[in-house]
C-alpha cells in the first residue's frame, strides 16, 4: 500500500514543480511585444506536420537527421510505456497493459529495440560533440561551460533511462523464470541481459527489478524538471514554435507601422495619424522605442524561439560571417535572448547565464540588472557583420529566425542611437540626397542608355 502512495506523491510533486517552471517560462515569453499570429490554420497545420512532426528540415544533412530520428521516435514510442508505469505505480498493478496480448508483445519488443538504437545514437552524438576536434557547429564561445555541460548531461540521462528500462525488463524475466510464471511481452534484448543477472535470490531480483523500475520513472520525472533549464526544452517548444512560423517570404522584413504613419503625415499634411495607445486608466502609454534594445522590445514569438532553440548550431555553421571568422553567431543571439530574459525576469530551477570572457570580446558586465540584450549581451560588432542572407533562417530545423532579432537591434542602433557605422551613414545621406546609395548625380541616372544599338537579326 505504501508504494502507490509514495508514487502518487512523487507524481504530484514532479508535475507540480514542472507546471510551476513552465508558468515562469510562459510569463517570460509574454514579456515580449504583442504580435497577432492568428489565422492561416491549414498552412500552419501543414508546416507543423512537415517541419515539426516530420522533421523535414533535419534531412538537409542525413547522418545527424537519422541519429536524431531514432531518439525522437523512441521518445514518442517509449513514452507509451511510461503510461503503463504510471498506472502500475498508482494502482499497484504489474504490467497492466498486458491485456493487449500480441500488441503488447510488439510494443515491448519495439521499445527494447529502440532503447538499444537510442544508446547507439546517443553514443554517436557524444562522440560528435566530445572527440577532438568536435563537429564545428558544437564549438564557439557560446558553447562552453553550462551549454556544453547541459548537452552532455542530456546524453547521460538518456543513456541512464534506457539502461534502467532494459535492466528492469531483464530482472523481471529472471524473476518470472524463478517463480515459473509467464511474463507478458517479448523482450528481444533483455532476455540476453537476464543471463547476466544472479539466478538464485528472488529478493535480489525483486530489488533489482524495482530499482530499475524506480530509476526509470524517477529519472523521467527528474528529466522532466530538468527540461525548463535546459536546451532540451525544445522537445516541447519545437511544436508551438513551428506552428507560429513566419509565413511570408524570407526576404520580406517587417514593416514598422508607427513609421508608416509618420511618413504618410509628412507626405500628406491631411493624413491623420491614429491616436497613440492609451493605458487602462486612459493615460497615454510611453511610446515604444524603434527596434529592440532589450527582451521586452522583442515580439513574444522571438522569445518563444529562444526557448525552442536546442543550440544545435546549424545556423552558425552556415553563417557567412561566422564561417569567415567574424564575431557574429546567430545561435549566440538566440541563446543570449533566453539568458537575458531569465536574468531579468523569471528563472527556472537551474539557471546558468552564459558568461562570456575575453573570447567573445565582451566588456565584463558588472551591473547585471541594467545590462540590456543589446550591448549587455549582443555587441554592435556582431550585428553589423550580418549580410541578411537568410542562411540561418533557412537552416533552422524548428524555424527560428535570428535575422529578425538582428535587424530589430540594428533598427534600435540606427533610429534611437544614430549609432550606425560611419560608412553606412554616408550611404544613408547618399540615398537622401541623390536617390542612390552611391554619390552619383541623379541627373546621370539614364546615362547608361546613351548610344545603344541592337543587332538586327534576319527574322526567322
Amino acid at each position: 500500500m505504501l508504494q502507490p502512495i509514495l508514487f502518487a506523491l512523487l507524481l504530484l510533486v514532479a508535475f507540480g514543480l514542472f507546471t510551476w517552471q513552465v508558468r515562469k517560462i510562459r510569463a517570460n515569453i509574454l514579456v515580449g511585444r504583442d504580435r497577432d499570429m492568428s489565422g492561416h490554420f491549414s498552412e500552419r497545420l501543414n508546416k507543423t506536420v512537415l517541419v515539426a512532426f516530420g522533421q523535414q528540415k533535419m534531412f538537409k544533412r542525413l547522418t545527424p537527421a537519422l541519429l536524431h530520428l531514432v531518439v525522437y521516435v523512441s521518445f514518442l514510442v517509449i513514452n507509451v510505456e511510461v503510461i503503463e508505469i504510471i498506472i502500475d505505480g498508482l494502482f499497484g498493478t504489474h504490467r497492466v497493459l498486458r491485456f493487449l496480448g500480441s500488441v503488447y508483445d510488439v510494443m515491448m519488443a519495439t521499445n527494447e529495440l529502440l532503447a538499444v538504437l537510442v544508446i547507439v545514437a546517443v553514443a554517436a552524438f557524444w562522440w560528435r560533440r566530445n572527440h577532438n576536434p568536435p563537429v564545428r557547429r558544437f564549438t564557439g564561445p557560446e558553447l562552453r561551460m553550462w551549454p556544453k555541460l547541459d548537452a552532455n548531461i542530456i546524453l547521460y540521462i538518456e543513456v541512464a533511462l534506457m539502461v534502467a528500462l532494459l535492466f528492469m525488463n531483464a530482472a523481471d524475466i529472471r524473476l518470472h523464470e524463478l517463480r515459473r510464471e509467464e511474463l507478458p511481452g517479448t523482450f528481444p534484448v533483455s532476455q540476453f541481459l537476464a543471463g547476466l543477472l544472479p539466478a538464485g535470490s528472488e529478493t535480489a531480483l525483486e530489488v533489482l527489478e524495482r530499482t530499475g523500475w524506480w530509476i526509470h520513472i524517477i529519472g523521467i520525472l527528474l528529466f522532466l524538471n530538468y527540461l525548463p533549464s535546459s536546451k532540451h526544452f525544445h522537445i516541447i517548444m519545437a511544436f508551438p514554435n513551428v506552428w507560429y512560423s513566419r509565413l511570408v517570404p524570407q526576404g520580406q522584413f517587417s514593416n514598422v507601422e508607427s513609421i508608416t504613419h509618420e511618413v504618410k503625415a509628412m507626405m500628406d499634411p491631411s493624413y491623420e495619424v491614429p491616436a497613440p495607445p492609451v493605458g487602462p486608466d486612459g493615460s497615454a502609454l510611453a511610446p515604444t522605442p524603434f527596434g529592440v534594445k532589450d527582451v521586452e522590445d522583442l515580439a513574444w514569438t522571438n522569445l518563444m524561439q529562444a526557448y525552442s532553440c536546442t543550440e544545435c548550431g546549424r545556423c552558425t555553421s552556415v553563417c557567412p560571417a561566422n564561417l569567415t571568422g567574424k564575431l557574429l553567431s546567430p545561435r549566440k543571439i538566440i541563446m543570449d535572448t533566453r539568458d537575458r530574459v531569465e536574468e531579468k525576469y523569471n528563472s527556472p530551477l537551474i539557471f546558468h547565464p552564459n558568461v562570456y570572457g575575453e573570447e567573445a570580446k565582451h566588456e565584463p558586465i558588472t551591473d547585471l540588472a541594467n545590462a540590456t540584450l543589446l550591448r549587455g549581451k549582443v555587441t554592435p560588432e556582431e550585428l553589423w557583420a550580418c549580410t541578411t542572407c537568410n542562411a540561418c533562417v533557412e537552416s533552422c530545423p524548428v524555424n527560428i529566425n535570428p535575422l529578425e532579432s538582428i535587424v530589430e537591434m540594428r533598427r534600435f542602433l540606427v533610429l534611437e542611437e544614430s549609432a550606425a557605422p560611419n560608412s553606412l551613414n554616408i550611404m544613408f545621406s547618399n540615398i537622401e540626397n541623390n536617390g542612390a546609395p552611391w554619390a552619383f548625380s541623379p541627373s546621370d541616372r539614364l546615362n547608361w542608355a546613351d548610344d545603344l544599338y541592337v543587332a538586327e537579326k534576319a527574322t526567322v
Binding site: 557567412p320 540615398i431 547608361w448 541592337v454 537579326k457
Partner: protein, 302 residues
C-alpha cells in the same frame, strides 16, 4: 531579294530606351516597367548588364519603358541597415511615382530591388506584379522569343551559377536562372553550396557600403575559392573548409581558361569579380550576368 548578308557585317539599329514619362505624354502606359536600380544605372560594370537586358527587351519587341530620372533607390540598403524611416521615405516616393503612371508589372535585374518592391512595397500601398529578369528571360526562352543562337557559342564552356540570397532563399527562385543557363548548352557545374544552401557573396544587408568586420577572411574570397575550385574540378579539395556533406566523386582536372561564374545580382557581380581578381584569375575566368550571356548567345550585341 538579295541573299542574307554575311554575319561579318551584321546590321545594327540604334534605339532609344523609352521613359514612362515620354509614353505618358503620348497617352500610353508600358505593359512592363524595367526597374533599372541604382547599380544598374550607375555601376560601370552593371551598366553593361542593363544595356544587355535593354537590347533583349528591344530585340523581342517588348512594350517596356524605364522611369529614368524619376527612379530612386528602393530603400533596400537603408532597410537592411535598420534605417526604416529612410526606407519608407524612398518607398513612398517610388510608389507615388509608379501609381501615378498606373504601373502594373515590373521587371528588374536586381534581386534586392525585386525583393523590396515585391514583398515590402505592398504594405505601403504599392501592389505590382514583380518579376526578376532571370524569370523573364526563362519565359522568353520558353516562348521561343529568344532562340539563344546566332551569336557566341557557349557549348562546352564551364559555367557555375552563384545563387543570389535575395533571389534564392529570400524568394525561392532557384530554377529560373538555371533554366536560362541550360539554354546555352554549356557545361554547367554546381557549387557544393548551391540553391537553398548557397553561400552569400558577402554584400547583402548593406555590407556593400561598408568594410567587413574583423575576421579571418572576406566572404567573397571564400565564395570565389569555392567557385574556382568547382570550375576547375577541385571542389573536393575544399571539403575541409565546410561542414557540407558531399556526394561528389573523385575530382577531375579542368582548365580554368574560359570558365564563367554566372550571377544574377549587381552586388554578387562586384563581389565575385573582386574575388576573381584577388585570386589573380581574371584573365581566365569571367563573371557574367545572365542577361549578358543570353544577349551574347543571341548575337544581338552591337
Amino acid at each position: 531579294m538579295t541573299p542574307t548578308s554575311s554575319p561579318a557585317t551584321p546590321a545594327k539599329r540604334q534605339f532609344t530606351v523609352p521613359t514612362v514619362a515620354d509614353l505618358a505624354a503620348q497617352g500610353k502606359t508600358p505593359e512592363i516597367l524595367f526597374w533599372v536600380g541604382c547599380a544598374g544605372a550607375f555601376d560601370d560594370r552593371y551598366k553593361r548588364v542593363t544595356r544587355a537586358f535593354a537590347r533583349i527587351l528591344e530585340h523581342v519587341g517588348t512594350d517596356y519603358a524605364v522611369l529614368g530620372l524619376e527612379e530612386s533607390c528602393t530603400g533596400d540598403p537603408a532597410k537592411r541597415a535598420g534605417n526604416e524611416f529612410l526606407f519608407q521615405m524612398q518607398a513612398m516616393q517610388n510608389i507615388t511615382t509608379m501609381n501615378g503612371y498606373g504601373i502594373k508589372k515590373i521587371v528588374t535585374a536586381c534581386p534586392h530591388c525585386f525583393n523590396t518592391i515585391k514583398n515590402e512595397y505592398p504594405a505601403l500601398g504599392g501592389e505590382y506584379e514583380v518579376i526578376h529578369h532571370s524569370t523573364y528571360l526563362q519565359q522568353l526562352i520558353n516562348e521561343g522569343k529568344v532562340a539563344v543562337k546566332g551569336g557566341e557559342s557557349f557549348q562546352g564552356r564551364r559555367i557555375t551559377f552563384h545563387d543570389s540570397c535575395y533571389l534564392g532563399r529570400a524568394n525561392n527562385i532557384y530554377e529560373a536562372p538555371r533554366d536560362v543557363l541550360a539554354a546555352l548548352d554549356a557545361d554547367l557545374v554546381e557549387m557544393k553550396r548551391s540553391r537553398a544552401n548557397g553561400l552569400c557573396c558577402g554584400a547583402g544587408g548593406a555590407q556593400m557600403w561598408k568594410e567587413p568586420e574583423p575576421g579571418k577572411k572576406d566572404i567573397n574570397i571564400e565564395r570565389t575559392e569555392e567557385a574556382l575550385a568547382t570550375l576547375s574540378g577541385q571542389a573536393a579539395a575544399l571539403d575541409n573548409l565546410r561542414g557540407v556533406e558531399t556526394e561528389r566523386t573523385a575530382p577531375s582536372e579542368h582548365s580554368l581558361q574560359g570558365a564563367i561564374i554566372a550571377v544574377s545580382c549587381p552586388f554578387c557581380m562586384t563581389m565575385m569579380s573582386d574575388g576573381v581578381k584577388n585570386k589573380e584569375q581574371e584573365s581566365a575566368v569571367q563573371v557574367f550576368d545572365l542577361a549578358e550571356l543570353i544577349a551574347s548567345a543571341e548575337g544581338i550585341n552591337a
